[in-house]
């Protein structure tokens, strides 16, 4: 299938007795921006780590760019991982290297390009995220938003076919977060890559999502276009979009448990 970038079937992730992902199915088409959402601890980040081959699945299959990650041998796996980019939550830039070196690193490792070409590519990528002047700085010298953008430049280093983002707006103010979303969208439109974004920021989801997948307790509880997901009657989906904590209303209060049995005799 040409237009499918990611095909996950029956993915199970188990740690001892704890089941983190329980039969997850997911299909991401080419050029699609898929948002994976859900509350904390629902398995979003674990799913992402499986998609980029950091964790081996306990059961099920993951097809990434027509390569089955579970059965592929190491060179095959490395080749396909060379075609993805990942934007980590905190940026995960290497603090001991300058921005320039950080962005150059994947190019030096995965290609045999001459140094001048790599330097030129690094300048291009950094300019693309608006950090052309910051290249000699070290990551700790940057603000949170700049660090995210620099990490995005590194993730884009090898012109990936799929870009994964783990909570891109985590720890950012609404304005910076909106700017980052715009940047992601413009990159997607220009390069036509698929994107998988894990987030729980409602505003961000509404801005960027083509399609969405909602997880709860390791299972997919809603999947489809954002409108379809938002219309789902599932109580967790309702709680998420209506911003209503699910715990409320399911427990009796002290008054309803002990009082309410009539007035004084």
């Amino acid at each position: 299938m040409e237009d499918v970038t990611i095909q996950v079937q029956g993915l199970v992730a188990r740690y001892g007795e704890k089941v983190v992902l329980d039969g997850v199915d997911l299909t991401v088409k080419k050029g699609e921006l898929r948002v994976i959402l859900g509350g904390s601890g629902c398995g979003k980040s674990t799913l992402l780590k499986h998609l980029i081959g950091l964790l081996p699945p306990s059961a099920g299959s993951i097809q990434l760019l027509d390569v089955d990650l579970a059965t592929a041998d190491e060179p095959e796996k490395q080749a396909v991982l060379g075609r993805i980019g990942m934007l980590f939550q905190g940026g995960a830039l290497l603090n001991s290297m300058t921005l320039h070196e950080n962005v150059a690193l994947p190019m030096e490792e995965r290609t045999h390009l001459p140094t001048e070409v790599i330097d030129e590519m690094v300048r291009m990528k950094l300019a693309m995220v608006g950090l052309a002047e910051a290249s000699p700085l070290f990551p700790p010298e940057l603000s949170g938003g700049m660090r995210k953008r620099a990490a995005l430049a590194r993730a884009m280093a090898l012109d990936p076919a799929v870009l994964f983002c783990d909570e891109p707006s985590a720890g950012l103010d609404p304005i910076t977060s909106a700017a980052l979303d715009e940047l992601l969208l413009s990159i997607r439109d220009r390069f036509g890559m698929s994107m998988v974004v894990v987030t729980h920021e409602l505003e961000s989801i509404r801005r960027i999502a083509d399609r969405a997948t909602m997880l709860d307790k390791g299972k997919v509880i809603a999947d489809g276009t954002l409108a379809e997901v938002e219309a789902s009657p599932h109580p967790m989906v309702r709680a998420f979009f209506d911003r209503r904590p699910e715990a409320e209303g399911t427990r009796s209060s002290v008054w309803s448990a002990l009082g309410a049995s009539g007035g004084p005799p």
Partner: protein, 354 residues
Amino acid sequence: MLSLTGALVREGVLAAEKELATAIAQGGKVEIDLSAVTSIDSAGVALLATYARRLRQDGGSLHLMGARPEVERTLELFPFLEEVPPEVPNRPGWFETMGERGLVAREVALQYLVLCADAAYFTVQGIWQRRGIRWSVVFYEMAMMGSKATGVVGLISFLVGTTITLQSADQLRQFGANIFAVNLIGISMTRELGPLMAAIVVAGRSGSAVAAELGTMMVSEEIDALKTLGLHPTRFLVVPKLLAITITQPLLTILADAAGIFGGFLVCTSYLDIAPGVFFDRLQESLYLKDLMTGLIKSVVFAQLIVTIGAICGLRTRGGADAVGRSTTVAVVAGIFAVIVADAIASLIFYFGA
């Protein structure tokens, strides 16, 4: 029927508790009139809930009535859990704990073997490859692990050398065997104390640094990022350190030997009345190249233990900043322990083997 009065808040709960305790003493169906309660907070609500629960356990029940609207609103605010969740989720027994520790130990051992194998593989492979080893990083690490440790290694070894010579001088003088202090300091420094002192200092300085660096990188997902960029963390982070320390540790050990012997020299010439020339003649007679080489071979083994143990502790870090601190501590303790065990094994091998 019990009537509570006044404010049922944090400060007044104790007084109300006595009344409640006597009221529920006979059990059964207890009714509490709240019409005279002017205000209530979470402490008051919790008090009522506590006694309700206690009564229920004995088969009775507690009923609240006549609450004013504002009191009722507060009572409506807090949830009442019908079932109290167990405080301690079934604690594992002794056998289970031991078994689990055994499994963890097995996992650590396997991981450690994989790390060492990877490190060896990537070192050999890297030497033949263009861009295989990042030499600039190796030189940087040599400065961090070697040059910067010279001061403290030199000073400690000098003091140890001085102390050992002083302590043994008194004993030797009783036999009129002053001159043997030279043999003693020469052999003990080169064979044992030089390598050991240098290794213990480096385990404290660099073992902890390796664990803290890798641990922080684990916590901030930098290690994961490296993997997605196609860089093996062992090759990228551990191999340069391993190469660096393999070069610097023997050099540090030679420095430690020299500083210790110099300390001994000062004591011998001043306190034991041995002439400087005699000291050096005697030292040359008593020291063999084998003594020095034994120490240097040991120092390389110690160095690799320190870095690999620091690395495994760092790479096993899970959690937050406190986890980094814990793995750093473990790296130093385990590093020093491993160095001393390796030294004991080496002594046995060299003693019985030669």
